[in-house]
Every structure is written in C-alpha cells, then in structure tokens.
Symmetry: C2
Subunit: 560 residues, 2 copies
C-alpha cells in the first residue's frame, strides 16, 4: 500500500475483494490470509478490521471479538513469563543457594530428581550430572542463580486493551515484595514477541524452540537470560498449543479466509502468519492464489514481508498488490491534515487533479520500493464514491508510467467481488510473468549496514545516525551472537521518513536510530526510529460509545 | 466441606464421584456444576482442578487451560472498564466543558446526535432533551463531567496470572499522562466483580443491567460513578455475550458436567453459576440431581451459597454434602502444620485415632452451621489410602452423633462412581426428607447487624470490631442506598476464625473488620476480615516446571 492516512486506505477490503473476484467470479481457487485484529483499537479509536461493504469477513462479530482466543492465549503466555522473571529475582535475592536448591529440587515421596527442564539447564551449564545429590556447592550456585540484572529486563507485560495509564508504571510496591520495586510497562498484547513468533513459526516444534529462545534480560555478566533458563518453555508452548492453528472463516461471497496472528506493525513485522499462508497454498493447489496481508505501506509491511517473513517461510511472492486511494494521494500532494473523528475537508470530497498529480510521487516511490525486490506490482486504486473519473484515470495513468505492471480501479466495497474482477485479472496476468525475487540485504552484513541499506534504499534517507544507546546495543547483540538476524525497523507508517507530518517523498533527511532492541525468539533485531508507542490510548469518545448488545435478539450493534 | 488444609480435601472429586455414582451406577439423571479454574494456580502452586483419579472431568487439558475463553473475556471486559476510568479522568482534567462536549457529541456527516448510551445518561441527570444544540452551559457541564475522585477508585485491573509484583503499583507515570499518576493494583482475574456477576446472573438482560450498575468510584460529591456513567455497559455486555453460556463437558464415566464461572472464594462468593444450575435442573428433570460446587468450608462457601446465591436463583437446596478427610481432621485435632510442597508428617500417614477424635469438633461445627439453614447434611469422607478402617469408622460415627443425616466413606478417586454409590444412596434418601430451608438473616437489617449474625452464628465469634474505615464505608453504602444487599465475608478459609493457624473450633475471639467494600453489580457488600490477598504469587518452584508439550504427539504433560 502507499503511505496511508490515519484512516487507513482499505488493505483488508482489497484483500477480500480480490479473493472474492478470483474465486466467486473467475472460478480460480483462492484464499485470503488476514491478521486477527486487536481488541484495543476495536473498542478504542479505529474500530474493527473485518473489511467493509460487500468485501467483508463473516461472522464479523467473532472476527472483531475473541475469535478462538489466540490473542488471549498470547496475553496469558506473555504475562506468565513476566511474572516468572520478577518472582525469580525476588526468590534469588531472599534465599541462600541451599534454600533455593532444596525448593527447586525437592524430595517428593522420598525421591529427589531433576525435571526434564532442569536437566536441560544443567546441560547448557556444562554440568553433566543427573543425580541432585552429586552437585558441588559451586555447581549448585550456578544452577540455582540466573542472576538477572533488573535494569536490563526487556520483557514487558501486555494487555489487549488501550490502557495508556500502563505505559509507564512502577511495580512491586507491596510489602510482600520486600522493596524490589522497579519501573516497567504494559504493551498492547499484539506487540508481544510471542505474537511475532506465532506469525513466523512453521511448526509446533519450531514454536516451542522459539519460545524457549526468547531473551528477557541479561544476567550480571551481560549474558542473555531466556525463557528456557526460567523453566517456562513447556508451559508457554502448552498455553499456545491451540493458537498455532489458523482459524478458518469466509468472505461474504464464500471465499475461504484464514485469520491468524496479527503482530504489531510498529515494532514487529506486521504480517499475517507463515503457517496460514503455507496451509492455504496447499489447499488452493497449482494455479491457485493466496492473497496475504502486510501492514502499512511498502516501506514497512512489504519490506518486512520480503526481508523477514519470506526468509522464514522460504516462499517467493508472485505479485505485489499496492493499494492506493485518491484521498491519500491528495494528502501527499499537499492536502490539509486528515484526522480520525474530524470531518474531511472539501479538498478530499471534490475533484482536485492537481493535488492528485502532486501526490502520486508517493505512489511512484512505493512502486520503486517493490521493484527493488524484483516482484511485479499491480496498483489497486480503492475507489471512493467522491472520486471523479478524471482523478481515477489520472492515478492509473501515472502508476503505469511509474513502472507498475498494471493499475486498475476497484469497487469491491460497493460491488463485492464483481468490483474487483479487473484487479483479479491484472493480478493473474502479472503472476504469470517471469519473477526475479531477491532480498534487499545479506544477513551476514553488520547490523548497522543492514539498517543503512533499508534507510537509504527504501526510505530515501541520506544516512542514519545512531544514539549512544543504539550503538552499545548493537555491539552487545553482535557480541551475543545475534548479529546475523534480519532487521525489523520500528518507524512511523505515516511518512516514508521518521517524521509523520512529512508527506509525499521526503528527501535530505538523516534517519535517527534512538535505540536497538531484539526479539531473539521471533528472530529479528528492531531498531527504534524515534519513540514508538507500544500502548495506544482511549480517546475522549471511544468506539465503545456506539457498541451495544440487544439482550433479546443477541444482536451486536456498532461493531465495524 | 470442613475447614480444609492448604492441600484441599477433594471438593471436585467428590462432586464428580457423586454424579458418576448417581448416573452411571444408580441410573438416576444427574449433572455436576463445577467452577472454571483460574490459570494462576494451575501454573503457580496448586495445579489444576479437574478432579483426579477415576473422578475427573475430561478433556482435562481444556478444562485447565483456556476452555472457551470465559475468564479471558472477563479480563478483557474488566480492563476495558479500568482503562476507561483513568482515561476519562485525564480527558476531563485537560479539557474545557466545550471541548469535551464537542468530542463526546461530534458532528458526523453534518449531523450531531446523542448515542443511546448518552441519551440514557441525560435521562439519569434529569435532562429531558434529545437535541445536542439545546443544552445550557450548566447542563453541558453536568453531562460531560463525571468528576471522579481518584482517591475513591475501587475498580482494579486484573490478570489471570499469579503476578505478585502487581499487588501494588503506580500507574500513569509516562509523560503522556501529564502527571496523573496514582497508586493501583492488579487482582487475579477471577476476583473481578464481573466474574461474580457471571456466576450470579440469570439472563443476558440481567447481566447487562448488573454490568451497568457496577460502581467504580465516587464523584467529588460522594455519589457513586458506574460503568453505565462511563458509557461502557454495552461494550462489556458484548465482550461477555458468549461467556454467559455454560460449557458442557463430561466425567470419565460420561456424566454431564457444566463448567461455568469461578468467582474468587476469598472476596466473592466462590460458587458455580446460577445459570448452569438452572439449565442443569431443567435437563435432569423431576427426580434428577444437580450437584453444584461451593468453595471452601461450610463457614465460607456454603454460607454464601445459601445467603447470596440462593436469594438470586430462588432455588432451594435439598441436601448439603459435607466433604471431610481424615488428614484435615487430624490437623484440627492438633496435628503438625500441613504445607503445600513439603512432605506430610507421619501423624498423617499412620493411624492416630486420638487426633481424629479431637479434630472432629470442626466437623461437628460445620454440620451445625449447615443445620442453621434447615438443610439435611450428608458427610462424605473422602478416603485416602493411608486412612485406617478404625479412623474411617470413627469419623462416620461422630458425624452421625453430631446431627448428620448420614456419613459415608467414599472411594471415587480409586474406584470412580462405584466408590461413591453409598454416598449417592445417602444423598437420595436425605433429599426425600422434609426440608425447612431458611436464610440466616433478613436483607433489611443494617449492614453491621448482618455481619454480626454471620460472625457469631457461623464463625462462633463473641462479637465483631469495626475499624474506623469500615465504619465510614458502612455509613457511606447505607446512605448510597446499598444497605439492603447480602453480605459476602472476605475471611480466610483455613480457620473458622480470622486467624489461619487457629484450627478446630476457635472460641473467644472478636472478629476484626478492617474494611468494607461493595460489588454493587454482583449485588453484595464484602467486609474484609484482616487483609485478604487478591493476587497470588509464584513460588520458587512453580507448577510450570513440570508442564511440557510434546511437539510431535501434541500431548500435554504435567497438568493436573
């Protein structure tokens, strides 16, 4: 998609309209793979994400509510690990080696033995013993103490609620926690690394391994402490054992849809799941199409789709469908601000060819980004009823001149699959072309080089600038052996640059990297470009003002 | 049940064994109604709650994990309300009346109108207008400001995780919250008032009404502020619309089981749901039996069952089954401490008739408590393999002498329903008796009198003693019109008194009431007897050390 307005430009509706066109109108097997929406925005600002008009996933209420509970499972698993981190620090701080050992390896019915999780830990520590009675005092100390440095904890608690008061909190202030208070935060549940893992994993065994590898902090020697060190890998896998299965739903026209995972596009990769894509590909068979959703513009969702998700899945994309709207292009051409909740200015509701033409620079740049990866681009212009014929024609014309394989207007919102038949035909044709897909960077490059390549080639930055924190994090991760991971930039989606107000194609900017973090289980390093909020808030008038339940009919009102 | 040891005495297994005996062995229609366990203890100290041995609910993994997501739905609803409280205070503090009004009642597509939730609020404020343009400045101010006094907020956030570091926290410390930080806490999810509502509600309409009536704080004039005032009733009902449906499961012998709700027995009433009981009663038909579980001893679970749940449901119980174990009776007779995780002392594994005889005073007292309500008591002695014949006979003898209708040993753990046939026969016989069920107090009595009646008649206290806070809370609730609600005592379950270490039948004590709180939506006042923890912690060696998932077979290990 092009760089969106804060209102969204219709990614979900285009995805759904396209599979409806392919299957219900062109008789081609197809499958849509969508992300599960967070309840935070559903009850907060944005509303639901089931598509709209005649391009919707049904049943829409289930889609926007708990569905099969995957996000709740993530919340449970994430927070069990968080509780384990703090409880462990407390227990280690208040007990001797011997007391810890007696509690960790108790005598049960006269027998004292290590659990399998503990045997694995002994192995990692290089202690090749299985009888708890034979450990030396030194080995016992190594075994019982994770020695977590509280100032290095990166594992945060999560909730699937827009609760801004949890952005920065102090925990552990009750007397029972004996003075071990510290500063912490809650993120929105979909920002959990476990969500990123769910989206990238390829099997139950792979998921369990990734869960165990998640780094929660460093120990006092600067070594990473993982979920596996805390003995919680198995429990996390048990909590996630059903969430790993994609949920089968359908569009209004009966096309199958997998709903699975929904990693936060700001600090994670924002794409639907590898498993859903793979199962869907198997189901559609040769000649079938799987349309999978990526979050935000080509600079964010698509770049991460190619450089992160495709590396994990090993799959090669056939076509990029780039969604554009006249509204967003006018904004990039210099139109007034677009704000959620406020009425649109007349520039957006009346014909203005100059604004459209000026804004197409953003579309052109997004097409060029897709071409960096060697994949043909079809531009889908999501037509609104206020768009004029001349505006629509102009966008399609410029898109084709800019290197798009094709550019077509879509009317799936008002006409369902029938309104996206032209798009479906263009996609089929593009998919039959030769394809020279390639990654943008080699994993073996230094972290800093990988960041620079994305900043320059994708965003159009002149260079990058690292804060001292970012620099020391990069050298720490490199030393810890995590230098070969792909990069997941945490950058605003509202501009190609780091400044949301800079529309069109910003140039001449230096991209500031304020911090660099790592999701080792998910398998990426994520540099922070400025501050990225990981917990949305509730506005003065949240969506829930319009949401209601009729107790007699059980009908839900106001959920979109 | 009698006053339990910290290990539990087998409430769930007796419930399951009894229905297995009734249906699979005596051919009588029966249904068990169980509570859904919290994930906190499952991964923390206690483990799961599906029963055990040959008296279990299956599939046990589902029962102990997410099941159909009811507790997750409660967490989501509870925390949406909490987020709404703090966000509202922030928005009111930083905006003028006019700005608030413009945001709360915006112009959408040229039209400005109140939502139905807002119209309801206007009505409550006595403003009989429907056109947003006609409100006076004073009416606008009344409409837009809830004027919540932050120091009176009683609505807490919840998680279904044993996370002791959230017992006391400071929230709102990020710059975006502009200095509005305050002290708060997380409770375990099952302690949410919404869980108590789920357990007591009788229909979707009733649930929605109760959700709207929940009091979250007082305004600066001392008036209660409700979920309805915050405009969130409809959204809460939508989040809870599926949770209201009991989940049908079965025992190992195929007897049907409803699993539904599981309110925290410490600060709520701790009983399974009214709806499950009612549906089950309909299904078993005339002559059938519904066995429904109540938390902890007769002083806690049963008293609340009668005085709170039966008032809501209008149902009259036929028989009380009081569960006892030789182990717990020995503890009451002066046996050594029983601690979870530590091996049992020899007093508990070898015959000791004196300890049993001395401990039967607790059993006798529990029988007397049940008799206060006019319902016949059958004592179910849950036999462990270390109990001697003489010990078992002695308990049954004393129980019958103490006024029990009957007292029988049960072996359902090792023998399934067959091991509880004698119990089932005793229950059938007791149920055919004349029954003179009555409540212990009239709702019209002053709050303080109702508390005193429970303390003296049930606990055996000499009197009660109110802290100044408790006194002022009682007068506030009485003034606010909540004086007629039943009482839900928040007292330790480990003693009939407020001191967990006092076993047997403590006498000569004054029950201290440290605070009095209210769950207006659920419909009870809950006095705190000392401090009741509403958030358990993780021990040094949590249950999760033994929990694992085999990624090939998908088998869960270590979940009990």
């Amino acid at each position: 998609w092009i760089t969106p307005t804060p209102l969204g430009e219709g990614k979900s509706t285009v995805t759904i309209g396209l599979v409806q066109a392919l299957t219900a109108h062109l008789n081609v097997n197809s499958f849509a793979c969508l992300r599960q929406p967070s309840q935070g925005p559903t009850f907060g600002v944005k509303g639901g994400a089931a598509g709209g008009g005649y391009a919707q996933v049904i049943p829409m209420e289930e889609f926007n509510l708990h569905l099969t509970g995957d996000i709740h499972a993530i919340t449970a698993a994430n927070n069990l690990l968080a509780a384990a981190v703090d409880a462990r620090i407390l227990h280690e701080s208040t007990q001797s080696d011997k007391a810890l050992y007696n509690r960790l390896v108790p005598v049960v019915n006269g027998v004292r033995e290590f659990s399998s999780i503990q045997l694995a830990r002994l192995k990692r520590l290089g202690i090749n013993k299985t009888d708890p009675g034979t450990l030396t005092a030194d080995e016992i100390s190594k075994f019982v103490r994770l020695d977590i440095d509280p100032s290095t904890i990166t594992w945060q608690r999560v909730l699937d609620t827009n609760d801004r008061f949890l952005r920065k909190i102090t925990i552990g202030q009750a007397n029972t926690e004996k003075g071990f208070f510290r500063q912490a935060q809650f993120d929105i549940a979909v920002a959990s690394e476990i969500m990123a893992i769910l989206a990238l994993t390829t099997s139950l065994a792979d998921m369990k391994e990734r869960l165990g590898k998640m780094v929660v902090a460093n120990d006092k020697n600067g070594q990473p402490v993982t979920a596996e060190d805390l003995g919680v890998t198995g429990a996390l896998a048990v909590l996630m054992k059903d969430a790993i299965k994609p949920t089968l739903m359908q569009t209004l026209e009966g096309t199958p849809v997998f709903v699975h995972a929904g990693p936060f596009a700001n600090i994670a990769h924002g794409n639907s799941s590898v498993l859903a894509d793979k199962i869907a590909l198997k189901l559609v068979g040769e000649g079938g199409f799987v349309v999978t959703e990526a979050g935000f513009g080509a600079d964010i969702g698509m770049e991460k789709f190619f450089n992160i998700k495709c590396r994990t899945s090993g799959l090669v994309p056939s076509v990029v469908v780039l969604v554009a709207t006249v509204r967003a292009l006018k904004m990039h051409g210099g139109g007034p601000n677009v704000t959620a909740g406020a009425p649109l200015k007349k520039e957006y509701t009346e014909e203005n060819l100059q604004l459209v033409a000026d804004g197409c620079c953003n579309l052109q740049k997004q097409i060029q980004i897709a071409q960096l990866f060697g994949v043909p681009v079809v531009v889908a212009l999501n037509v609104f009823k206020t768009d004029s014929h001349a505006e629509v024609d102009l966008v399609c014309e410029i898109a084709k001149q800019s290197g798009a394989f094709d550019a077509v207007p879509c009317n799936h919102w008002s006409a369902g699959g029938r309104g996206a038949v032209e798009l479906a035909q263009a996609v089929r044709k593009a998919a039959s072309q030769e394809n020279s897909f390639k990654y943008l960077y080699n994993l073996e490059l230094p972290i800093i080089e990988k960041i620079r390549i994305i900043a320059q080639k994708v965003y159009g930055a002149e260079d990058i600038e690292l804060s001292p924190v970012a620099q020391s994090q990069i050298s720490r991760y490199s030393k810890q052996g995590f230098g070969n991971l792909p990069i997941c930039m945490a950058k605003t989606h509202l501009s190609l640059s780091h400044q949301p107000e800079r529309k069109g194609v910003p140039t001449g900017f230096i991209l500031p990297i304020s911090d660099v973090r790592a999701s080792i289980g998910a398998g990426f390093i994520y540099p922070l470009v400025g501050t990225m909020s990981t917990m949305p808030g509730l506005p003065t008038r949240p969506c829930f003002y319009d949401i209601d339940l009729d107790p007699d009919t059980e009908q839900v009102k106001g959920l979109f």
